[in-house]
């Protein structure tokens, strides 16, 4: 099967797709359709819930298997993983009408050098743990992040940072919205799409060090992350990196911005 599926073609496959009963190429095609079709996504979620009920067995979890799982956790503690966890790319865009036009936009030359500075492993751990927790807290609230992002944009307490293209300070490529509790969003992302195998990575300057705040994906639109609260980060930068992310930026920033107190 080649090419994109029509809605009707994808719909016919949803039952089999929800049961993992399609060929690999069909699964890829359906997944591509789901990315842009909330109705089909919703149906797949519901059918998977039905399948889960069919699979339900009252058997207890085998205790001896827990010992294996527990032992497996120790081999690679997530806290010292050199790669920041991937942040979920989010489909929804926030309405331009909600955008605050008055945000101060300023280029920040200093961060170009700073992002290339070697950063301590501890700083990476802190940043990693921090945004992982922040994102999960948002999940626990049963709130879709695009909705949460829209809400954050409307929050008068939010700090806002315009990220502008390096070398073109008049061109805003994304905005950051940061709430007092450290919950933060990149919104209105308009960076050029990177080729496969590459990702944008967000950095914050914290106590003189560039701390990774997470991976943004190949073409970020709306992404959740988190920062320390109260905000010690005054400046941000975005670099383009290999897909798994890096501990130390390998290229100069493509976008940058700083917090401006009004």
């Amino acid at each position: 099967m080649g090419g994109a599926l029509s809605h009707a073609e994808a719909s016919e496959l949803l039952g089999a797709y929800a049961l993992d009963a399609v060929e690999a190429d069909e699964a890829t095609a359906v997944a591509a359709h789901l990315a842009s079709c909330p109705a089909c996504r919703n149906e797949v979620d519901q059918l998977r819930a039905v399948a889960a009920v069919l699979a339900w067995e009252g058997a207890d979890a085998p205790p001896e298997l827990w010992d294996r799982i527990s032992a497996g956790l120790g081999t690679e503690p997530p806290g010292i993983s050199p790669n920041p966890p991937r942040l979920a790319p989010l489909g929804a865009r926030v309405s331009p009408a909600q955008r605050h036009r008055s945000w101060v936009r300023r280029s920040l030359g200093a961060i170009a050098a700073a992002a290339a500075v070697a950063i301590g492993v501890l700083a990476v751990q802190v940043g990693t743990l921090d945004h992982r927790v922040g994102q999960l807290s948002a999940l626990a609230a049963h709130q879709g992040v695009p909705a949460a992002a829209a809400q954050a944009m409307a929050d008068p307490r939010a700090e806002r940072v315009a990220l502008t293209a390096v070398g073109a300070p008049d061109r805003t490529v994304a905005d950051l919205v940061i709430l007092p509790d450290g919950t933060a969003f990149l919104v209105e992302g308009n960076l050029p799409a990177l080729p496969p195998g590459r990702t944008y990575q967000l950095w914050g300057m914290e106590h003189g060090q560039a701390v990774s705040l997470g991976l943004l994906g190949r073409q970020p639109r709306v992404v959740a992350f988190a920062v320390h609260s109260p905000l010690p980060i005054r400046a941000f930068a975005v670099t383009a990196e290999p897909a798994g992310g890096v501990v130390v930026a390998t290229s100069p920033p493509v976008a940058e911005g700083q917090v401006v107190r009004t």
Binding site: S11, E12, L13, L14, G15, A16, A18, L19, D20, A21, V22, E23, R41, D45, Q46, L47, R48, A49, V50, A51, A52, V53, L54, A55, W56, E57, G58, A59, D60, A61, P62, L65, W66, R68, I69, S70, G72, L73, E76, P77, P78, G79, P85, R86, L87, A88, L129, R132, V133, Q135, L136, S137, L139, A140, H142, Q143, G144
Partner: protein
């Protein structure tokens, strides 16, 4: 989180995000049996099913952010992961031969029986009734696809029916089940703790 045993599933996942092993242990206690049973159903009891179960929970530990409560319960998420992994395993070339042997064995003894899969649950009766009420050919197609790990094309070959027909029957049967369960007040939320 105070006590993992009284925490909601989403709260457990948040705690797992903070590297709380007791929270992961509790998630395993709640859902490990179902995950292991589904993996065993597809792969047969033994090492392969144990491996899939282990991978599912270690994956939850490493990437808890992949669970989105807005899209369903934690149990559905874990079972979806387990099913996908088990099916990948089944469809790998090395496993195919062993599976063919096992399929031959199973065919010789007893057929698939989804009615006995959904049991020991507060809503077991509704599920049993809903499954039993399915048209026979829809029930067979769903059983072969979900518990047999077959693609709809393989199911079509097994049943000697057109692929398009099988594809439609799987979806129609699943939708029928969903509607029936919802009419009986059984919602995906029941698998929430």
């Amino acid at each position: 989180m105070t006590d993992p045993r009284t925490a909601s599933d989403p709260a457990l996942v948040v705690a797992i995000g903070r590297f709380s092993e007791p929270a992961l242990a509790e998630a395993y206690r709640r859902h490990g049996g179902a995950v292991h049973a589904l993996a065993s159903r597809l792969l047969g009891p033994g090492t392969e099913a144990d491996d899939v179960t282990q991978e599912v929970f270690i994956d939850l530990w490493r990437r808890p952010e992949r669970y989105d409560p807005a899209r369903g319960s934690l149990r559905t998420f874990l079972l979806t992961m387990a099913h996908a992994r088990a099916v990948d395993q089944l469809r790998s070339e090395t496993a195919r031969r062993q599976r063919e042997e096992r399929t031959a064995r199973e065919t010789a003894t007893a057929g698939y029986d989804i009615e006995h899969q959904a049991w020991d649950l507060a809503v077991a009766e509704q599920v049993r009734v809903a499954v039993a009420a399915l048209p026979e050919e829809e029930r067979r197609a769903i059983e072969l696809a979900y518990f047999g790990g077959h693609t709809y094309r393989e199911v079509a070959a097994i049943l000697g029916q057109p692929e398009g027909t099988v594809k439609s029957r799987i979806r129609a049967g699943m939708r029928r089940l969903r509607a029936k369960l919802e009419r009986h007040g059984v919602e995906p939320a029941w698998v929430e703790h």
